[in-house]
Symmetry: C2
Subunit: 515 residues, 2 copies
Amino acid sequence: MPTLPRLAFASGVLGFATVLGPAGLPAQVPAARTEAEAVAFYVDAHRREITAELLDFLALPNVAADTENIRRNAARLVEMMEARGIRTRLLETDGPPMVFGELPVPGATRTILFYCHYDGQPTDASRWVGHAPWDPVLRDGNLESSPETFALPAEGPIEDDWRIYGRSASDDKSPIVALLSALDALEAAGLQPTSNLKFLFEGDEEAGSPHLDRLVREHEDLLVADLAVIADGPRHSSGRPTAVFGVRGIVTAEITVYGPTVPLHSGHYGNWAPNPAEALAELLATAQDEDGRVTIAGWYEDVLPLGPADAAALAALPDEEEERRRLGIALPEGGGRSRWEMVTLPSFNVRGMWSAWVGDQARTIVPDRAIASLDFRLVRDIQPRQQVERFVGHVIRQGYHVVSEEPDLATRLGHPKLAKIESTRGYPAVRTPLDDPAARAVVEAVREATGEEPVVIPTHGGSVPGHVFPDYLGATFVLLPIVNPDNNQHSPNENLRLGNLFSGISIFAGVMRMP
Amino acid sequence: MPTLPRLAFASGVLGFATVLGPAGLPAQVPAARTEAEAVAFYVDAHRREITAELLDFLALPNVAADTENIRRNAARLVEMMEARGIRTRLLETDGPPMVFGELPVPGATRTILFYCHYDGQPTDASRWVGHAPWDPVLRDGNLESSPETFALPAEGPIEDDWRIYGRSASDDKSPIVALLSALDALEAAGLQPTSNLKFLFEGDEEAGSPHLDRLVREHEDLLVADLAVIADGPRHSSGRPTAVFGVRGIVTAEITVYGPTVPLHSGHYGNWAPNPAEALAELLATAQDEDGRVTIAGWYEDVLPLGPADAAALAALPDEEEERRRLGIALPEGGGRSRWEMVTLPSFNVRGMWSAWVGDQARTIVPDRAIASLDFRLVRDIQPRQQVERFVGHVIRQGYHVVSEEPDLATRLGHPKLAKIESTRGYPAVRTPLDDPAARAVVEAVREATGEEPVVIPTHGGSVPGHVFPDYLGATFVLLPIVNPDNNQHSPNENLRLGNLFSGISIFAGVMRMP
């Protein structure tokens, strides 16, 4: 059932508006006591339509490399935005287009640029339970408690604790739908945004945002804004509304270590032919100590120490004991430091590792190669290239000859320890000072919209290419994550709790109306 | 063209026989000077039929776990054997049946049991070039030199250097066809085997021979023999005819190291949530030193030192510099010791390693688990269970809690270092003394049949469950490998050089006729 409190409203700032109620019948909105209540009333009355719009959007496969489908997503976005009166334009790149939109407000003196991405991570359909990644379904809770799936019912209540399971349900299509629904809610309440609004929806964020940097520089005049609100990532694990003042940068690398030219019979050649899986294991083992501290020379060199304001903000964050237990983690890395403190440091993560086969597919061979896929998260002021070079230097110091392309036979025969390292371009971190006035105003708007005290996080562990907004546009960076922390982002069975979508609409409407 | 030397035969021991010549026309066989020449003449005259029989046999998928197809293989084998007058019988197990056959020879005082296996390793079809694993094709050389494939031509010469590409082309269906063709050749030459012959063809050798041990013990009376000739594995890398007096045993294990219960976003959780791929790398790195020597306590404890005869035999083996260069190996493990010396030691091999995804499929996550599949090769007198226990003990000494089943949440929360280890039953090694008279007689028969000096190898690196023949039947063990060393056994693009098949027939015919 809708949760709007049915109060007698004493001093409405708004007139009456006619909207559709829960049963699809017109409902009289009492003159709301606050704008936030008016928005919440609209959202509750339109849960079905809002959920349906998101489900339709999620049914479009959206891996950036899937050219045809990613274009269908962009075209759908244009339709969805123009239906709200947004002037849209595709900003073309070598890859998927960016979808840009503008909603100028006469007399407004501030411009807010909202950024989301409409592409999603690649999927391994075999690990999704009960449905395909782009065949979104509902569950009455999470997968563990409620394995049964169902379609959006034509009538009856739509509960906050229901979840949508599907690729990009949380990352990052729901914030897009929340932003557009916020405009609907304001219009239904007879309210106008107080700022000029711009929207930038990226189509290859999950592929590492290879075009964003250049595109923002090229379209500086079009995109210029005072405040950049990035809508991505999960709320704090307490579930409280969250505002994030910084994000880590990222660069990814892949290392291939070579064994014999072909996989060899492990009986005839084992412990004579060098085993690349064992060599890779030995190499990776040199990169971190027992506590997970990275031992690559210079890794932490450019890390700025935490100031008193940062330390205070970190200390004020709710404890995550529940989260640790849910994830089955007996002893986190970091020697007792909180997750939020750990993400103020650059990371070294083995995101994937592969050599030959395991399980039922295992064969008794010496593999011909072993691969580790790595991601390095960056903090202010570490440049991506710098961190990759530190890694390459470390591998060389372990006695390896490092190449950037598949080696030929002569190269193999010339170097007992041989590795190929490839890397992406990556992007650096971004950090807004904790006392920045524009960012504090956003926090205030979130508090107003939700009636809860927001969790303020100095820096998030995740990466969005937010540095482009302050660096090229002079905009203050704030990230407003709305989705549930247990959303399985980037993994199989990604999901969104519907209550988070609905309150996200209130949050964005509040930001659009902030004084 | 057939390579039979067309000599004038001075003192034939055989009469004339009518066989089909290369063009399919009846050919007059001159009274051959030697039995070996008579056999070789038959083989050259029947290259097409012999090759066709093998191709047909290879078209049957033969993974042991594929119940329906593995039965089709057994049924085909029975047909092939009965066509040669062999009395056959299926010896049933819980899995694929063993195919047994018997060919008693009146007056013979010795019994030879020939052992092969008719199942093959699982395949990854995506890594086979130009055809599917069970759609065997011919090439005019190896894959690198002759990528083009063709079907067996209806006429024209069939060259020694042609190869069949297909799963089990070398391992281990070609020895079966060679044995049966040897009977045809002897019959065509009017010759009878000098020993009673038995045949035992196993259907789940590649699955670790889970039934062979019990079956041989149960059917001791049926299988009893003086000499067990195992036809499996490749010739020495010099390409010379080869006799092997021992093989290593094997046991496999799989270790799973646990991270969080689900894969986590590497930005939000990286370097706080323990990474199982990094933990597995650290663990594997402790198992061997820089030179590849296994550092697990007790690993080499029961290794018998090499005697003077072993050392002499090892010293007599041809050098393998060519092989090393072909395989792109800059520096083999073992500090300069030969491959043949290294395989007199027990091995520790990481045959596969897996955690999450790499390459295009990589996702920026902390994986939930990392797996290494291992095989341990055994030498006399190390028992499989003993070696697995040494490995488990080593993992425990690295601080791990070891379980044998998927751990629940409480187990995960109770143990910062947690690993699951599963293992197979395995089997021990076998070793025939280098001066054993029956085994020396086999070497002599190979020399006679081929006109070349055989390479005698004290022990092979690969594993076949040959221990059952001396241990339960009292038979002398000898392994006669016939296939080409570069056959990609156990790997994609497995192949057989046809010349090896044809000379294998001569070798087996010689053994069947040895005095």
